[in-house]
């Protein structure tokens, strides 16, 4: 079915199918356009219309009522395409330089072959891509991106572009532009193209009008500044394009990183034999998230929040590079909406998960280590399983439906009784105290006592369903005064901040015997001076003769300059050194020698010890 319109052609009324009418209308307009500038346009048009009406009348004579597309095409054939009008009507300008293409036109009513030109009307640099785009019928943006990518392949894209720029001619004339675009060269198209060009020109004139005015009226100085302005404009335009490229590259790099991250997981958390699925679907979500759904919710949010700004950066770069002026409001709005949605997803996931960390509960128990025998015990870690995992940086992993964590700390303190004892404090977090308490109770930790050996596992384990919720175990080994512990090499995995006589670091305590004393706490029984850090060597090693002394007085002449009770360690002697007028006073024996100096004849050091008194006269 076809819509019909009524048309009055030269006083005769016709029914014409809508598309046929459209075609006829276009045809007449084209002709009219062509005769626009010659005398008697109206008369010519009237004659032509009259003839068309006559022809239609003839055609309808066979009994048909409606003019169809077919009729119109037949009439146009008889009357001739506008091209033909020009052939006969053409003036000198057409015979002078355009004879060649006029002939091509005659053969090419429907022009399909294209010629390769550079399109400087729609260019980024030399219009090469634009021209190639027309020639191959490809969207020019893809060619541009292609060249851009190729630039990073050792600059081949850049070189190729320069070569093409040099060898492909620029489309200068209207017919060349039409040839480039593959449009048939006829009156209508030439008219359109010229109109476009005129508009472009007009725009240019409008925008440079001020400059032209200045050129006319101002001096050479002014012209110089205008030139300088143009150079700067070009420079900034170029700079903008460079920044645009940088933006686009950064965005692509970010997207690639994201994809790598999604498909491989964060590197420092990969687990033995873990593949992608295992890591993302099982480990992370089951270790940390309240549920798998929460995990995927958060991950989706994260991807959105990461991808949208990257795309934004890419788009911004593209805008800079190709001078796309305005931004698309719909795109902006959707991008911002998506960002907000992504953030909401993340916050839902995060708050749900984090709320399960909000409360802490501790459970403490004390165990008598009745099976330990002797005054000297050896502390070891149950190291075999853990050592297998050491070497990787991971401290959390899943095995046999249990989560293992490297969250065990062992301290050594004075026993409250005369037995070895073990105090264990388990703690965990949860949505509520009750849940945290349940989790704390679920913590499993291995230790064993056997003869002189006490072994503690460096790993605690919790059931899968408990997730990772800050579970930790603090173990305090209580040692009766007078007993000794030897810290073996493997104990290094478990001990944490053990207090001792000189606050020695844990790692330095390894490989030594430590005796629990009433006053000094843990005291090393086999350490030599070099085991201590300088200045931290206990006085019993530096001044064996002072062992057991408690009071010290130093006198110069009869003036008592210091009296110290309960002499302890080297620190006290250092105080003495400071108060003394002597410059360096390091060892008591040397002290004696220095005091032989003639100037200090009456110096005397008195050391009192539990009532008895040792005087050193110098």
């Amino acid at each position: 079915m076809n819509k019909t319109v009524t048309a009055n052609i030269s006083g005769v009324v016709f029914h014409i199918e809508a598309d046929a009418y459209e075609k006829l209308h276009q045809y007449l307009n084209t002709i009219k356009n062509y005769f626009r500038d010659s005398d008697g346009t109206d008369e010519i048009m009237a004659d032509i219309e009259a003839r068309i009406a006559e022809l239609f009348k003839e055609k309808l004579g066979t009994g048909r009522d409606v003019i169809t597309m077919e009729h119109v095409q037949q009439v146009i054939e008889i009357m001739g395409e506008p091209v033909a009008y020009m052939d006969e009507e053409s003036d000198e300008e057409y015979n002078s330089g355009h004879g060649s293409y006029r002939n091509e036109r005659a053969q090419q009513t429907s022009f399909s072959s294209r010629k390769l030109y550079r399109d400087e009307d729609d260019n980024v640099l030399g219009g090469v891509c634009s021209g190639l785009g027309y020639y191959f019928g490809i969207e020019r943006i893809w060619l541009r991106i292609g060249f851009l990518v190729a630039v990073f392949g050792f600059g081949t894209g850049f070189l190729l572009y320069l070569i093409l720029w040099a060898i492909i001619p620029k489309a200068k004339t209207t017919s060349e532009k039409l040839e480039m675009k593959g449009e048939p060269i006829n009156v209508e198209n030439i008219g359109n193209t010229i109109k476009d060009e005129f508009n472009n020109f007009k725009k240019k004139v409008d925008s440079t009008g001020a400059q032209q005015y200045a050129k006319r009226t101002e001096s050479a100085v002014m012209r110089f500044f205008i030139f300088l302005g143009n150079v700067l404009k070009f420079f900034f335009k170029f700079l903008g394009k460079v920044i645009g490229v940088a933006f686009m590259m950064a965005a692509v790099a970010g997207l690639v990183t994201l994809i790598v991250f999604l498909f491989s997981g964060p590197f420092d958390m990969t687990i033995n034999n873990a593949n992608f699925n295992h890591f993302w679907t099982t480990d992370i979500s089951q270790m940390y998230f309240t549920s798998n759904n929460m995990f995927y919710l958060g991950l989706t949010g994260l991807v959105i929040v990461t991808v949208i700004p990257l795309l934004g950066i890419f788009y911004g770069g593209e805008k800079l590079l190709f001078d796309i002026p305005s931004s698309n409001r719909t795109i902006n709005f959707s991008a911002i909406s998506l960002l907000v949605i992504g953030m909401i997803l993340i916050s839902i996931s995060a708050t749900t998960t984090l709320s399960d960390y909000s409360m802490e509960q501790r459970k403490t128990e004390t165990i008598d280590l009745t099976e330990l025998q002797g005054d000297t015990i050896y502390l070891e870690s149950i190291g075999n399983t853990y050592s297998a995992y050491r070497g990787g940086p991971e401290d959390v992993f899943i095995e046999n439906d249990e989560i293992f964590m490297d969250e065990v700390e062992v301290d050594i303190v004075k026993s409250k009784s005369d037995q070895y004892e073990l105090r264990m404090r388990k703690s965990a977090h949860g949505r509520s105290r009750k849940l945290a308490g349940l989790r704390a109770e679920n913590i499993m930790i291995d230790f064993e006592q056997e003869g002189q050996y006490l072994r503690v596992s460096p790993l605690l384990s919790v059931p899968f369903t408990d997730r990772v919720r800050d579970q930790e175990v603090k173990i305090s080994i209580g040692m009766p005064v007078g007993t000794t512990v030897y810290l073996t090499e493997s104990a290094n995995d478990i001990i944490y901040d053990i207090e001792n006589e000189t606050n020695m670091y844990d790692a330095r305590m390894i490989g030594h015997f430590w005796k629990m004393t009433e006053v000094d706490g843990l005291v090393c029984t086999d350490c030599v001076k070099s085991d201590y850090r300088s200045g931290r060597v206990p006085k019993r090693l530096l001044h064996p003769e002072l062992e057991g002394l408690e009071n010290l007085e130093a006198l110069i002449g009869t003036d008592k300059i210091i009296e110290i009770k309960e002499l302890k360690g080297l620190e006290t002697l250092k105080e003495l050194e400071k108060l003394s007028e002597l410059e360096q006073l390091q060892e008591l024996k040397k002290l004696g020698e220095i005091f032989k100096d003639e100037d200090l004849k009456n110096l005397e050091l008195k050391i009192k010890s539990n009532g008895s008194e040792i005087s050193i006269n110098l």
Binding site: A50, M79, P82, A84, E89
Partner: protein
């Protein structure tokens, strides 16, 4: 130099002369003129004739009168004016001269 180009120029030159010649004996309306021109393969499509007729009329060489038609709109019947008759005579002389010149030149060259 394309052959089509040259042909078109030659055709263009004689077209006006031919139209005037057709109208010399009797008046005619465009369709009749077209038919005669088509016989001589001087024009291919009708559209080209109308601008030409208008131009000749505006130059005062042709005049026309309206006549009702039973098929379609009224027709324009063209005929020569006094100026047109004079113009045609001039053209005939020029044409004959040209023919002679061309023939002479061709004969010389073929000898």
């Amino acid at each position: 130099m394309k052959i089509e180009n040259t042909k078109a120029q030659m055709r263009k030159g004689v077209l006006e002369y031919c139209i005037l010649s057709i109208l010399e004996s009797d008046e005619a309306y465009p369709s009749e003129i077209i038919d005669k021109l088509k016989e001589g393969k001087l024009i291919v499509v009708e559209g080209t004739l109308y601008p030409l007729l208008t131009r000749l009329k505006n130059a005062g060489l042709l005049k026309y009168r309206w006549e009702e038609s039973k098929s379609g709109p009224p027709r324009k019947y063209y005929s020569l004016t006094e100026v047109g008759i004079e113009f045609l005579k001039e053209l005939e002389i020029t044409w004959n001269e040209l023919m002679n010149a061309v023939n002479l030149t061709r004969k010389k060259n073929t000898k």
